[in-house]
Point group: C2
Chain length 261, copies 2
């Protein structure tokens, strides 16, 4: 997640989910953004008669029927634009921040990986995503404005842990550099800043202890921006392009780390 | 405004405001995003003792004291991260969508141009921005996912007009292409799509009748991403770079159109 807009959250989440599924892992992708871009990216007809995450937040028990297959080994809980109303509709409910977790607990055992694409905010939707998750990956564009939001993002993760009562239930696993252009001084400085920050946190008792900036970065590559218009993942659209190679490698690293955990 | 994240809203708003101010126009910039990036971009110490737009939404009469000078001819109503709580805090107020308009009406006559930077969502903050505005400019990255949100954005503008009772109070003036790379097929197709769409709307009775895609686009240019880290506008940081030339030209076009209106 990342409250900064346009840093590659959806592109990373969808293609990472696809890469893990292609490697034979069973994956659930949850689209928690009212823009429904993850749903669109996979070419799934949003709201075409089946239930979406909007319905599930209102009735967590409906989750089993709302999950639909998108690719082999890859299932999706779709979004729809009505989801934008959920924060105000659920404002008075005492369990408004843990609805998704309640729902996910009913199906979690069916999947090895559950990836959640969040909207660009720290509102009720993103907080539901954090409460339901075990690990946080932060897609990041190595620019100054995107870097600024990091402290607020980390503070929010800490608050979610405190609210949950278990201090280490949610951890920040790392930053994924997206749309990366390593040739500029700016991006190099931002990456160096991030590396230094995580280095210093290595021994601290914080949710981002042991987090790191994943290598290789996902390079800027127009094919990653083209494939959603065909409802395809990068592996279906341009399997040998730099974007596909970077994301496949990222998926391999994440799967290996998870297996060793 | 544009609910899609990372399409250049803040960069365009701040530098357009600066260009208009440098041309001798009196400008007010309102930062309506809890990320407070427009405030940061101008190097203003957010929340350093003075009131912000968060306070103004809670007490519209406090606006006069909250506006502070940022540059010659350029004043700002700052944001702060607490603003993220405003949508839920104001949820029960009958006038929650027109608070900013109520406030702005008290100071509007002091400025020739008022530019509002909105967050990446269609929530209460953006709706306040739309209710307070006369014209909408849509910063846009010429990619597929950014194009998808257009219909929802235009629908929202129509709804704001219906709620205000005056059908033509808010109009969509045009799209500003940001981070533009005209060399790819994808961006050319997206721009052609937008041109066609606005061409067909020329005679329709809709808020975007007569809207167009502004030329020249603002080209991708790393200096535009560097200048916020120094709290400078592009004109202070790299006045002859392509980004500065594109934004200065855009400001000239907008000012001329406004004068002829
Ligand atoms: N590596 C890449 N190279 C080129 N374009 C990319 C890359 N990754 C993403 N994009 C494009 O950049 C834009 C932003 O990416 P994306 O929509 O995934 O970000 P996001 O963080 O999900 O945005 P939002 O905050 O609106 O949810 C999209 O148009 C996408 O197609
Ligand atoms: N023309 C440009 N060339 C290169 N980089 C740019 C350009 N315009 C903006 N940027 C950079 O791209 C990123 C996104 O721009 P910006 O933050 O202005 O978008 P936004 O729509 O305001 O994002 P958000 O949705 O988070 O509010 C920033 O890091 C900014 O510095
Ligand atoms: Mg997204
Ligand atoms: Mg912004």
């Amino acid at each position: 997640m990342n409250q900064k807009g346009g840093v590659g959250k959806t592109t990373t989440t969808v293609n990472l989910a696809a890469a893990l599924a292609r490697a034979g892992r069973s994956v659930l992708l949850i689209d928690l953004d009212p823009q429904a871009h993850a749903t669109l990216h996979l070419g799934v007809e949003a709201g075409a008669g089946h239930a979406t995450v909007y319905d599930v937040l209102h009735d967590p028990d409906s989750i089993a029927g709302a999950i639909i297959p998108a690719r082999e080994n890859l299932n999706i809980l779709c979004s729809e634009t009505d989801l934008a109303a959920a924060p105000s509709e659920l404002a008075a409910s005492h369990d408004r921040l843990t609805r998704l977790r309640l729902a996910l607990d009913q199906v979690r055992s069916r999947f090895e990986f559950v990836l959640i694409d969040c909207p660009p905010s720290l509102d009720l939707l993103t907080l539901n995503g954090l409460a339901a998750a075990r690990e946080v990956f932060v897609p990041m564009l190595a620019h100054f404005l995107a870097l600024q939001g990091m402290s607020k993002l980390l503070e929010t993760v800490q608050r979610v842990n405190q609210a949950a009562g278990a201090a280490d239930s949610l951890r920040v696993t790392g930053v994924i550099l997206a749309m990366h252009d390593g040739s500029t001084t700016l991006t190099r400085e931002v990456v160096a800043d991030l590396d230094r920050f995580f280095e210093q946190a290595r021994e601290q008792d914080v949710p981002w202890r042991g987090a790191r900036v994943y290598r290789p970065p996902v390079r800027r590559n127009i094919k990653l921006a083209e494939c959603p218009s065909f409802g395809k993942t990068i592996f279906e659209y341009a399997p040998t392009c730099p974007g596909a190679l970077d994301l496949a490698q990222l998926a391999e690293t994440i799967a290996r780390e998870w297996d060793e955990f």
